[in-house]
Amino acid sequence: MQRSLIIFFFSIVIVSCGSNNSEEYTPVPVNLQIPELFQQRLINPLIPTDNPLTEEGISLGKKLFFDRRLSKNNSKSCASCHNPNNAFTDVAQFSVGVDGQIGTRNSMPLFNLAWNFNERFAWDGSELSLERQALEPITNPIEMDSDWQDVLDKLQQDSEYPNLFFQAFGTNIIDSDLVVKAIAQFERTLISGSSKFDRYLQGNAELTSEELNGFNVFMDEDRGDCFHCHGSDNNPLWTDNSFHNNGLNATFTDLGLGAITGDPNDNGKFKSPSLRNLAFTAPYMHDGRFATLEEVINFYSEGLQISSTIDPLMKKANQGGVQLSDQDKADLKAFLLTLSDNEFINNPDFRE
């Protein structure tokens, strides 16, 4: 009798601990393909435990990213404003929404998002995870202007989506949480790490003397002093993923981070964008005010505006800027363009 009890007990333990329902579909886990340079110089990317990457989830996210049915009148997809040709931004100063409305912010490019460890996304840091970021444009009246229930109905009635959701998440009942999880999975795979400068750092490319001088301008505290906010050869993200008032305005019409935190000290602060892929991401700044890199460089050189929250790292703001020579300006531009990654924008995995 005692022996039977023990066998019974162990049977329960073994069966309950080894739950393995063979009929349940199991998505295939995916490890991000991290560039060697990133592996050497950065900590591992952040993948939320409640949304691990899977082949099925990424594939579904990609399909959703390019699906215009996420918008009210089936006219706009995520890719409409986040175009792969433009490193997942667009060429407009302000993107155009479904009914022709325009906003006040330039569309942000999308890449290397899994290395944003403070988890604040968007120019003003309003979105506290990639999943939450993906929720917002669907219903924003100046973007997709849709209704989540309408979107879910469209997806649920589709001939493919219910099965794709089942394969990715084990359920064919589609909800907004799963939609944004899939989109976020796809977005985390958008890794840009194969620019000319990356190859230079790995000994596989040479820079011109102009590009090298431009890099020195970037790293020189007495000239460009760009590295304090925009990364370096040791931080190939080329951003600190933080928020600064870089001296764009003397007074604020757009409070940026300050509107989110409610702290007046954050007024006029916006996320430092990565300097990767600048060849594809014009116009520049949170409001797309600069059409060219020359305008951007001239701004930092002579055009800074003083305000109450300007970052002290803009140390020459009282003189208008860092006062670069024409040669240094040209060389800085040449260097910045070496950070652009043609392999990234042409990667078929990231295209419709």
């Binding site: 790293m219 505290e221 040791n234 931080n235 600190d240």
Partner: protein, 253 residues
Amino acid sequence: MKILRFFIIFLLIIFFGCDNNDDGINTINFQFTHSWGNQPISESDLENTLYTNVSGNELNITRLRYLISDIQLTNQDGTLNLGNHQLIDLSNEESLRFTANGNVLFSENTTLSFRFGLSNEDNIDGIYTDLNTANFNVPNMLGGGYHYMQLDGSFTDDSNANQPYNFHAIRAIDNTDSNNIITTDTSFVVTFSNVNISRDNITITVNMDISQWFTNPNTWDLNLASTGLMGDYDAQIVMSQNGNNVFSFTSAE
């Protein structure tokens, strides 16, 4: 009956054996606090509170990030190393507290030491992925490696104008002569003796008095030096000398 007794013992071993913490592993918590003299400073003071240094410069603080390394506890039984480095960021509450584990014997006469910055041996360009990710690097043209500290803010200058300051501490470098580049390790070791490690899971609190960076032994006037200090060899030496007085031991409890 014998089998049942054996089975109960087996279960007891399973349930309690995995959570046994009796093999001398102790937990030490560290807490770094900040002040201006006796006035505590927290994240909410950033950009909000004005301070006056010994030179009469009225200033605020926008950013304070600094690096400590080689944290050690030493008593009569030897020295315990408690981790390589820690980046402390006043705006990041989580970074102000950290925990180390190790075999620490209880003692009233323990010496706590840590290094502000990184020693020359450890200050190797690009090798720390966490510090690279935190954008704490020093350009190669300034010797490479890492910042020891970034203390940024603004002050009112002698003409009553608002000016920025970037009080950035790094390994001192004089590269005015490219054929004779001089570097000096300006990191320094902070030591507190007679720390009473009386129990497991104890919290050691250390304070940085930020005003001391401008005070002792060298009086610092931001009107004379406020930005572009990374490449200023003499400024880095002065910072290092003043830094020796900024940390104090608060408690172990």
